[in-house]
């Protein structure tokens, strides 16, 4: 167990290292003088010299990388070209908004997917199953930004039930906060819900065919008891992994969703940064996102291995 954890953590460290190299190299690939790239087109000679000195841009590349990584590890991700604020500060300020949105989306997705998936599996090949599977297929196929636009058209423009855009912080007005986040969370959660429902249905079908479930039935337990107490427990384990794997899609989705509903979170930040050629900001956001992704997946894997001992053996082998 300890060996698995250490091994898994080591792999994560290697991955994080590679990510930092990729991000560092990416910024160097932007055509033009790196000092100009990092300081912005409006920077004067003094500003350029300051950047040059801070990142040691006259040193050899490996040395520059080490210096940059050192700064990043201490939380110094540079300054936004546009606002002159520290990148780390801007990220910390925007992140909670996106996290709240993602959390709502995840909860909505689970609330829809788990019951639907279980029902579809238990009532296999009935109209329940067809409706649930059909919805899931539609959910995977519908582009979320179009879904968002159509919902705005229906719920905001036509019916006027929900605000089309904007954001109110939770502590200012929880009700308005929820009203503003309801549509974005649904749009963000729709695809996830579709994927989770499929996975729930598949793994429940597998579990329902297993010997121990048949044994439970043979013991004389009622259908509800077997499903709730025996089948669901094991059936939902693979679903946890899918949540972890879908995290990247959730982040990508958040970028688009925030753009449609004008939610001032992380996703809007990065798109704005690209358009204003705010390279340090793009770099910081990409680095933070990828690192967070690796760490969360590490947590998912570890918690998963605690739930299911068989994973430890498999994951410890050749890294499969």
């Amino acid at each position: 167990m300890i060996e698995f954890l250490v091994r898994r953590a080591l792999i994560s460290v290697v991955t994080l290292g590679l990510i930092s190299v990729i991000v560092f190299a990416g910024v160097r690939l932007i055509p033009g003088d790196p000092a100009r790239v990092l300081a912005g087109t409006e920077a004067d000679e003094a500003g350029l010299a300051e950047i040059r000195q801070k990142y040691g841009l006259d040193d050899p590349l490996p040395l520059q990388y080490v210096r940059w990584l050192g700064l990043a590890l201490r939380g110094d991700l540079g300054e936004s070209i546009r606002t002159r604020q520290p990148v780390a500060g801007v990220v910390a300020q925007k992140l909670p908004i996106t996290l709240q949105l993602a959390l709502y989306a995840l909860l909505l997705a689970l609330a829809i997917a788990l019951p639907a998936g279980v029902v579809a599996a238990v009532r296999r090949n009935t109209s329940w199953d067809y409706v649930a599977s059909g919805m899931s297929l539609a959910g995977v196929s519908v582009p979320n930004f179009w879904l968002g636009i159509m919902l705005i058209l229906l719920l905001s423009v036509r019916l006027g039930w929900l605000p089309a855009s904007g954001f109110v912080p939770l502590w200012q007005d929880p009700v308005q906060n929820t009203r503003h986040l309801l549509m974005p969370a649904f749009v963000l959660g729709a695809a996830l819900s579709a994927v989770l429902m499929r996975q729930t249905r598949n793994s429940m079908l597998e579990v329902l065919g297993a010997d121990y479930v048949r044994t439970a039935y043979a013991k004389g337990l009622g259908g509800r008891a077997v499903i709730l107490r025996h089948a669901i427990r094991n059936g939902l384990v693979p679903v946890i992994t899918i949540v972890g794997l879908q995290l990247g899609a959730l982040i990508s989705g958040a970028v688009v969703t925030e753009q449609i509903f004008v939610v001032p979170g992380f996703g809007r930040l990065i798109v704005e940064a690209v358009f204003t050629r705010d390279y340090p900001l793009v770099q910081g956001v990409v680095l933070v996102t990828a690192s967070a992704y690796v760490l969360i997946n590490l947590l998912v894997d570890v918690s998963y291995s605690l739930v299911n001992p068989r994973i430890r053996v498999r994951g410890g082998g050749d890294g499969a």
Binding site: F145, A290, V294, G319
Partner: protein, 300 residues
């Protein structure tokens, strides 16, 4: 390591399948596919959009970039069945011509992903050891960038255009193909036909390309049918964000971007391009499900 299969000297490598049974298998597969109306409907949708993309110049001779200041944001009518947009351009023509861009981006990006990913996965899974470790760690790092973040990073470096969006989407899909190929190769290399080929003196390159690769092609094709719709949505998303196809080219994503500003006065501008993306993706997904069922060896 499985024990090497005993092969009599002089015996030729076993052919994958004799011609007659192959035809029989194909017919059986076709019959299985024919029994799945959703899969057929999906295939029909894909064929329909492919025909639209290929035949756009003949099917829709209206220039999708032709502006008409007298026809700004007109509701659907006989002259413009899908209405006109904010510059008086025909929405139907733009949707039809947009099919080309979407199909091209979807197919080319996945071809790129397979061109890079399949050889990498083959080598990684076949040789295992250090090569495998290096490839897998690189893939882990690559996968840590959520698709859109990776695409945004690449487009920041390369600049926004359809080609660069296609490259970004292709590179984003590459790890999936590396991992899948590697997993399939790991399983296939333990098979007896691989041992047999090696016992007959086939080199690594030959075993990989002539024996392992054909055995895993089916699974790779299934993945491709799943990946293409995702790539199509990817292009639409990038163009929607302004990071892909640039105006005035008729991309469904770009059209939706503009449409969002006129939701109240011209909702048709938003409905048709989105519906097109939805139907094309749905078609691929339905057809992909069918192909997966048909090729799944567990059911064969």
């Amino acid at each position: 390591m499985a024990p090497r299969a005993q092969v009599a000297p002089g015996l030729d490598a076993p052919p994958a399948a004799a011609p007659a049974p192959a035809r029989e298998a194909a017919r059986r597969r076709w019959r299985r596919l024919a029994r799945r109306p959703p899969a057929l409907a999906g295939a029909a949708l894909v064929v329909f959009f492919a025909a639209l993309a290929g035949g756009a110049p003949w099917l829709e001779p209206v220039d999708p970039t032709q502006t008409d200041w007298a026809q700004i944001r007109k509701a659907p009518s006989w002259a413009h069945p899908f209405g006109t947009d904010d510059l008086g351009r025909d929405v139907l023509a733009r949707v039809v011509w947009g099919t080309r861009i979407s199909m091209r981006a979807g197919v080319l990006s996945i071809l790129l992903a397979m061109t890079v990913g399949v050889p990498a996965g083959l080598v990684s899974g076949y040789y295992r050891g250090t090569v495998d470790q290096i490839v897998m760690r690189l893939i882990d790092a690559w996968l840590a960038f959520p698709f859109l973040i990776l695409a945004i990073g690449l487009v920041t470096i390369l600049g926004p255009s359809l080609t660069n969006a296609t490259i970004a989407i292709g590179l984003g899909a590459t790890p999936t193909f590396v991992r899948l190929t590697r997993g399939l190769v790991l399983a296939a290399r333990e098979e007896e036909f691989v041992d047999a080929a090696r016992a007959l003196g086939a080199g690594d390159g030959r075993v990989m390309t002539r024996h392992v690769l054909p055995a895993i092609t089916g699974a790779l094709l299934v993945q491709a049918t799943v990946s293409i719709p995702a790539a199509i949505i990817g292009e639409a998303v990038l163009s929607f964000l302004g990071l892909g196809v640039q105006p005035p080219a008729p991309s469904w994503g770009t059209m939706l971007n503009t449409a969002q500003q006129f939701l109240e006065s011209a909702p048709w501008m938003a409905i048709w391009p989105g519906l097109a993306i939805f139907l094309l993706t749905l078609g691929f997904n339905l057809a992909g499900d069918g192909v997966r069922d048909v090729l799944d060896p567990r059911e064969a």
